[in-house]
């Protein structure tokens, strides 16, 4: 990791203010936007910055994936919505344990014919093995949706659509759950309790998307 990044983030007051400084044309600890772009292109710097961003709210899933930090800074720098993009990136998070995929999006059948659900890494386990089939594709859809959005409101709506496509809403399952499934704390899963939890979390996610769209999605000046 580049020696200057740690003191720069310290001087800025954290990774989120650092991102806002980069987007706003500022220089922190000798790092301005141009140097930030150069540093980002080294994998170890990107990895470290992603870790700092995740550490703002540990054990959360970022609906705009963490490797979009540079893209968020660019959008904030060039968009009339400015730092709203960065605040959206920071606040659009859900507990990782809540991101369990709908069985139609990703699941598999155990040898005994029961259903094994998949989700975000850290959400659901079979024994001690995380069940994460297609989570790369899930994150790619989020990235593509975010990058193609011209404004915050469109981005939030698009990301919400991806959420609704992928996340299990607690609706009835096509077959019984595998008895070997464990939750993020390593506890056996009770199917009925899980369905109730999923339904509540799905509603919470809806509410969060709508609230952040209202908070950070601005109309264009003059429109």
């Amino acid at each position: 990791m580049h020696d200057g990044l740690r003191p720069a983030l310290h001087e800025a007051g954290g990774v989120v203010p650092f991102m806002k400084a980069m987007a706003g044309g500022g220089t922190v600890g000798g790092i301005g936007h141009e140097k930030f772009n150069t540093l980002w292109n080294r994998q170890e710097n990107e990895d470290w910055l992603k870790d700092q961003f995740r550490a703002v709210s540990p054990n959360m899933h970022e609906w705009i994936p963490s490797n979009q930090i540079q893209a968020i800074v660019d959008k904030a720098k060039t968009s009339h919505e400015g730092p709203n993009w960065i605040d959206l990136h920071n606040e659009l998070r859900s507990p990782t344990s809540h991101v369990i995929f709908h069985p139609a999006a990703s699941s598999h059948e155990a040898p005994d014919g029961t259903l094994v659900l998949h989700g975000h890494v850290g959400a659901i386990y079979l024994g001690s093995t995380p069940q994460i089939k297609a989570q790369g594709t899930f994150h790619d859809e989020l990235r593509e949706t975010f990058l193609s959005a011209p404004d915050v409101a469109t981005a939030v709506e698009g990301l919400k659509t991806v959420m609704k496509k992928w996340v299990w809403d607690g609706s009835p399952l096509p077959k019984p759950l595998s008895g070997a499934l464990k939750d993020s704390m390593g506890r056996p899963i009770d199917a009925q309790a899980l369905m109730a939890d999923r339904s509540a979390h799905f509603t919470d996610m809806h509410t969060m998307f709508d609230a952040l769209k209202a908070k950070y999605g601005q109309k264009r000046p003059g429109k």
Binding site: Q43, E44, D47, V121, G122, P130, I132, K133, H139
Partner: protein, 216 residues
């Protein structure tokens, strides 16, 4: 509409850089690789965006007999590519690695970087005699699989960076006389710490670096 050929740069048929490879242009790309197989020394291919990795598993990589530097982004590749006999530098980004239970890195390889590659290979033997730099970075948002074991036996190693979201066994077979503590980074993700078996590492620096991760 731009094609892969439009945006490419060729230098006396020794270099091929294509930064907009797509499913539609892939047949042309394969043809160019094979047509210049005898002379190509440097190849860099990027599939931009977030489409599924394009399949290059059946390309006869061994026919690129002078290939020194290879960088690929979003292509599925065979595990045997890591063992290519003339490669000196290999960088794979979001490239699923398939087709073998275990693989040894090539004898000429000096730098190997694997980023978000989701290998379906059980054991990676990092035992190239020329290897000086190894990087494996697996982000939690991309992780769907990892090597079960990575076995280091490369006395020329100078820099090691390993960042894995999923659990993996790291086995060190020393010595590593050129490896300085300042150039070692081992990091577990939140979803499985690496279990390290320091079987014969004689480097005090390496031992100090891996000790915090040693299995109880």
């Amino acid at each position: 509409m731009a094609t892969a050929a439009d945006s490419s740069k060729t230098h006396a048929e020794t270099t091929l850089e294509l930064h907009d490879v797509s499913e539609a242009s892939l047949p042309d790309v394969r043809a160019r690789l094979l047509a210049n197989a005898a002379t190509l020394r440097r190849v860099s291919l990027v599939q931009p965006g977030f489409a599924r990795p394009l399949d290059l598993t059946d390309l006869p990589w061994h026919m690129l007999a002078r290939l020194r530097n290879l960088s690929l982004q979003r292509f599925q590749v065979p595990a045997s590519l890591l063992a290519h006999p003339t490669l000196e530098s290999l960088r794979l980004v979001t490239c699923p690695i398939v087709g073998a239970e275990s693989v040894h890195v090539g004898p000429s390889l000096t730098a190997l970087e694997l980023v978000d590659c989701n290998p379906e290979v059980a054991t990676l033997h990092v035992d190239g005699p020329a290897l000086t730099s190894f990087v494996l970075s697996q982000d939690e948002d991309a992780a769907e699989s990892n090597f079960a074991t990575v076995r280091f036996a490369c006395p020329g190693l100078q820099a090691l960076r390993f960042r894995a979201a999923l659990a993996v066994d790291l086995v060190f077979v020393g010595p590593f006389p050129a490896l300085a503590a300042a150039n070692i980074q081992l990091q577990a993700g939140a979803y499985g710490g690496p279990v390290v078996d320091v079987s014969a590492a004689e480097s005090a620096a390496l031992l100090a670096a891996v000790a915090p991760f040693a299995a109880p």
